[in-house]
């Protein structure tokens, strides 16, 4: 009985306390339709529509037949959906003498992108690691030269590189283009990795040295596992950059080894015959699909990587 009495007492006390608290209390109420919200979301919607409209037009056009396109209603949804243009763009569209569509360019691009990305990231991460933690003599000079390289316009180096590649005997080959991409990725990637590795506490590096790890052991066993986020960032930059590259592709390769972008240009800009808008749209979407997938897939990984790396050691 005494227990229940005590409970009652506290109940009464709580009631009295709530009566005593008048006026605003707890979290401030938020109105959904405030001026601020309308302005904010209004702007976001307008911008989103602005960017999504071209994509909508492309997708819609790519699944229409030519008669429907000729009617001129580019915003109208397709009456009759056909995937013929997609198949044609991939497998049978003609560029010059070849009539095997974008598929050839796609595989060329894959064979260019994968080695270029791997090679450039491997070298640049090592560069960045060495520059950040092994202060060798002339490190600053080396770094400055590398960064200055990023500011030299590509056009200046185009022709000299043609000659260099020709002398090396790899002009017009995929190997040559991979080499070019690797070199041009160096300044920005090295900067990226150096800055990241500089943020790794120096004491960690010292502890590893006391523990008997050398240059490679520290790189592979300590630095690499800690740096997933920056590797994902570098990968996104390189994959999209190299996949979307047109200039180097058109300069350093031959029709047989053209990357996808160059081939796309040739399909879209061909002046003979009827302009097949639906095929062009489908071809463009196919080409753009790879960077798009990279963004979607790695975006998640990217966030997870940052979260994993953010925990202090």
């Amino acid at each position: 009985m005494a227990d229940t009495g005590a409970i009652n007492d506290t109940g009464i006390a709580a009631e009295a306390a709530s009566e005593a608290m008048v006026g605003p209390r707890g979290a401030r109420p938020r109105r959904m339709l405030s001026r601020r919200n309308i302005f904010l979301y209004g702007t976001l919607i307008v911008v989103a529509v602005y960017y999504l409209l071209p994509l909508y037009v492309m997708i819609v056009t790519s699944v229409k037949g030519m008669p429907e396109i000729r009617m001129g209603n580019i915003f109208a949804p397709p009456v009759e959906i056909t995937f013929e243009p997609w198949v044609k763009a991939w497998a049978t569209a003609c560029t010059g003498l070849n009539c095997d569509g974008l598929s050839r360019g796609f595989w060329n691009s894959v064979r260019i992108t994968i080695p270029s990305v791997l090679l450039s990231i491997a070298i640049a991460s090592l560069n960045g690691y060495a520059l950040a933690h092994w202060r060798f003599k002339g490190a600053n000079t080396f770094f400055t030269i590398l960064i200055v390289g990023a500011f030299i316009p590509y056009q200046v180096m185009l022709y000299p590189l043609v000659i260099i590649l020709r002398e090396m005997g790899i002009y017009g080959t995929l190997t040559g283009l991979v080499l070019v991409h690797t070199i041009f990725g160096m300044p920005i990637l090295t900067l990226l990795f150096r800055n990241y590795f500089t943020s790794v506490p120096e004491e960690l590096f010292k502890a590893a040295r006391v523990d008997g790890a050398g240059f490679w052991a520290i790189y592979f066993k300590i630095m690499l596992p800690m740096s997933l986020p920056i590797f994902v960032v570098a990968m996104i930059i390189q994959v999209t950059g190299i996949w979307n590259d047109f200039l180097f592709g058109v300069v350093y390769t031959k029709p047989d080894t053209y990357p996808m972008t160059v081939q796309l240009n040739n399909i879209v800009n061909s002046v003979q015959g009827v302009k097949e808008y639906n095929v062009n749209m489908a071809a463009t979407i196919i080409t753009g699909l790879v960077p798009l997938i990279v963004y979607f897939a790695s975006g998640k990984l990217f966030v997870r990587g940052i979260a994993a790396g953010a925990v202090k050691g």
Binding site: V210, G212, V311
Partner: protein, 362 residues
């Protein structure tokens, strides 16, 4: 036998001379603390001993072996860092075994050593965890364990407790001391800016300033007979009171500051005895007594209380003696009010007197 010797060590960063002609001998099994304010070169010296910094000139011996040109791993040292520096992607066990694996120690031996270190530091339940899942104190234990498994004779601590909160710091401080007692013949060199850590842990303290050792002695000597004014001011909290005045030598030496004259017959002068001239008279707040105790002491006077800082166990009283600020401690239970006059007294034998110009002890 000297465990670690530093001989004529110079270290320059470009044009900046960080350490100059530094000599230090550390006995086997000794606990030496390098103490100093930030930027005095104490951590730099430790990094030189560890081999993490290339020195400009001089030699370093560990266990009577010249290790000046050797890699950190070959010097027979273990090191503990302020930021713990645990490898974040490895488990505690991985952290402990990393160095041993690099050295090619057989698996069973690694297991044995990890078990021993884990038992010593009470981290057995944590072995499978990642550093991110540990608290600050646990992380520092693991970091100590990583040095422990290396089975070395010399431990280097670079401000290991500075990142911990006050309570944990006190706990781990005792544990480090206990560890030093358990590991016989293990030399420990410990860098800190915390004088309490230095006083409680050290067999000897080296007080550093601007890349040079000011005084190297046991804690009692450093506290009671500081070699110069800097050391006197650095050690002790609240810090020592300085009264500027002149030293007069007639029949007996007397310190005079304005109206105040302090008889120095009990003071042990260093070197060639007292020399007249301007000096700084230093007396520690805890050596000044009040009321009844003061009545029995050689020097007595009356001061006015200006500020009172109660700290619980005791109360710090700020007053003035002949225009110079004078702090002293009274028991926390004593009622003291601002404006009140108090009778104080101290024994000049416990004071430290420094030459006004050279700042060296006289």
């Amino acid at each position: 036998m000297a465990s670690v010797s530093v001989k004529n060590l110079d270290l320059n960063f470009g044009d900046v001379k960080v350490l100059q002609n530094l000599n230090l001998d550390i006995r086997q099994g000794e606990f030496l603390v390098l103490l100093g304010s930030s930027g005095c070169g104490k951590s730099t010296l430790l990094n030189c001993i560890a081999g993490l910094l290339d020195i400009t000139d001089g030699q370093i011996f560990i266990n009577d072996r010249n290790v000046t040109w050797e890699q950190p791993k070959d010097r027979g040292i273990g090191m503990v860092f302020q930021s713990y520096a645990l490898y974040p992607q490895m488990t505690v066990e991985g952290n402990l075994s990393f160095g041993l694996k690099n050295a090619g120690v057989p698996k069973e031996e690694i297991k044995k050593r990890i078990e021993r270190a884990a038992a010593l530091l009470h981290i057995e339940p944590l072995l499978k965890r990642k550093p991110a899942q540990l608290s600050g104190g646990q992380r520092q234990r693991v970091a100590i364990g990583r040095a422990l498994v290396r089975d070395v004779d010399v431990f280097l601590f670079d401000e290991p407790l500075s990142n911990l909160d006050a309570k944990l710091r006190a706990e781990l401080r005792v544990e480090i001391k206990r560890l030093h007692q358990q590991l016989e013949n293990t030399t420990m060199i410990y860098v800190t800016h915390d004088q309490i850590e230095a006083m409680t842990l050290a067999d000897r303290i080296a007080i550093m300033r601007a890349g040079a050792i000011q005084q190297l002695a046991d804690p009692a000597t450093i506290y009671n007979r500081p070699v110069n004014k800097y050391v006197a001011g650095f050690i002790g909290s609240p810090s020592i009171n300085f009264i500027d005045g002149t030293l007069e030598v007639n029949s007996d030496p007397v310190f005079r500051a304005g109206e105040t004259a302090i008889e120095l017959s009990g003071y042990a002068f260093s070197g060639n005895g007292p020399k007249p001239g301007p000096v700084s008279f230093g007396i520690r707040p805890e050596h000044i007594f009040t009321d009844k105790v003061a009545a029995d002491l050689p020097f007595q006077c009356e001061v006015e209380v200006e500020v009172v800082e109660p700290m619980g166990a005791d109360t710090l009283v700020w007053s003035r003696l002949d225009g110079h600020e004078l702090r002293f401690r009274v028991d926390g239970q004593t009622p003291v009010k601002e404006g009140e006059r108090m009778k104080i007294g101290f024994d000049p034998a416990r004071a430290s007197i420094f030459d006004a110009e050279t700042e060296m002890r006289v």
